[in-house]
């Protein structure tokens, strides 16, 4: 065999072998191409080489549902939130609009910067907590329960006013210990399966956990419309689910631990556009 013929044979074998390996190696659905869709981290010590929204880890079909506001079922919550915005509730006879007028103006950017430090409480609060602070203190209304349709709808509506704006949270000053706590929790293993957030979402994103295609676990789309649940899911419920699934005892929604974790997650997504209401599977 001439060297040229041998080379051709090797190349041909490699192509056929590669095709067989691809066909044989993956029995699941075709994987989304998330590479190259990330943004650059703010500095070189950042824990991720690029910051990629969960949007890019989902199929084209799922992306298409999110891309079309008329098709995105998450918009039911946006509409419900809009109605609640101007509906008076509580002893003070006020609605959100009584103080904040038009949400499109007054709430623009608010959701992109939460959780935020509240000096009066000496702790940071997230959007759900701030909404309930307004309800109890300004409106003299009952706080909405975590996970209630009302609280999730209002959270979605307020965060939606920041859609497209980059996530940017303060982690300095009094927020610093909360950031450190969140970072520690992110890297702490839980449960009988002994897995941390980082085990899947830092070390193994872009790989398949059986049928689940692992993303970076970014929070920029929350509350998200989850196709398997057929409803909007707030961030703390999703974190609860992850810890439960590794057979661990989850922290309570709106606990200090989940708040610290929410802060740290937001920082890991620094610069990602808010996508609320995002669609995920």
């Amino acid at each position: 065999m001439s060297p040229r013929l041998a080379l051709c044979a090797i190349v041909l074998l490699a192509i056929v072998g590669g095709a067989v390996a691809i066909a044989w190696g993956r029995s699941g659905p075709e994987r989304p191409h998330w590479e190259g869709h990330g943004i650059k981290p703010p500095d070189k010590d950042f824990p991720l080489p690029e910051i990629v929204s969960g949007y890019w880890f989902r199929t084209k079909e799922t992306q298409a549902i999110q891309d079309d506001d008329f098709n995105n079922p998450g918009f039911f919550a946006v509409e419900q939130g809009e109605e609640l915005w101007s509906k008076p509730d509580g002893a003070a006879g006020k609605s959100c609009a009584s103080c904040h007028q038009d949400a499109a103006t007054s709430m623009k950017g608010v959701g992109a910067a939460m959780p935020k430090w509240r000096e009066a409480l000496h702790k940071p609060v997230n959007l759900e907590q701030q909404i309930n602070i307004c309800r109890t203190e300004r409106m003299q209304a009952e706080p909405w329960k975590f996970g209630s349709a009302e609280l999730t709808a209002m959270t979605t509506y307020v965060r939606f006013q920041s859609r497209g704006m980059p996530v940017r949270v303060r982690i300095d000053g009094p927020m610093a210990p909360w950031f450190e706590r969140g970072k520690q929790l992110y890297h702490t293993r839980n449960g009988q399966l002994d897995l941390a957030c980082a085990s899947c979402h830092e070390k193994n994103y872009g790989r398949n956990l059986r049928a689940d295609f692992l993303s970076q676990g970014q929070s920029n789309g929350f509350p998200v419309y989850r196709l398997r649940d057929q409803r909007l899911v707030p961030l703390h419920e999703r974190m609860e689910g992850c810890i439960f699934d590794v057979r661990g005892i989850p922290y309570a929604p709106l606990s200090d631990e989940f708040l610290a974790l929410e802060l740290y997650l937001a920082w890991r997504g620094t610069g990602l556009p808010v996508e609320t209401p995002a669609v995920r599977n």
């Binding site: 190696g25 449960g191 002994d194 070390k203 059986r210 810890i243 005892i249």
Partner: protein, 155 residues
């Protein structure tokens, strides 16, 4: 090959308030460090491992769920093989049975503390375990032996 001594008793009691109501600590087994690698040469049970039963454990999502992270070509009848860990095809050519047993029991002893692979026969040193799983390993000793028998046949 000569074992380089260092026999360590494992299976510590669970340090947890629920421990008194939980299953008793795991029966002891011996870890032997051979050529710098932790191994468990002796089977955990007197009943020999059954590779067929092992395949069932490997597939079951509530048990081994090994396909969650590993591709295994002889199990291509099952949908969705993960790729968080390496494929297990030919794994018996890479590790002997004693080391395979150690990896299933507690992979951190072989791959180091950073591995994401769970320890399938361990009840201590875990954090915030749901009460129904406290004191219980992911797999029973017999299931570990069955999985090891299945893996040992992947040549």
């Amino acid at each position: 090959m000569k074992a380089l001594g260092c026999v360590v008793g494992l299976a510590a009691a669970v340090v947890s308030p629920a421990a008194s109501q939980a299953a008793p600590p795991l029966p002891p087994f011996s870890v032997v460090v051979k050529d710098g690698v932790a191994t468990i040469p002796a089977p955990l049970t007197s009943e020999p491992g059954d590779p067929k039963a092992g395949a069932t454990v490997v597939v079951d999502r509530q048990l081994g769920n090994c396909l969650s992270c590993h591709e295994i070509d002889v199990l291509r009848g099952e949908e969705f093989h993960g790729d968080v860990g390496p494929p297990l095809n030919g794994v018996a050519k890479r590790w002997d049975t004693a080391t395979l047993r150690m990896i299933v029991v507690n992979p951190k002893k072989v791959f180091g503390e950073d591995t994401v692979m769970p320890a399938f026969y361990r009840v201590d040193g875990l954090n915030r375990v749901r009460p129904e799983f406290v004191g219980k390993p992911i797999l029973t000793a017999q299931q570990v032996e069955d999985v090891v028998a299945f893996l040992a046949a992947l040549k």
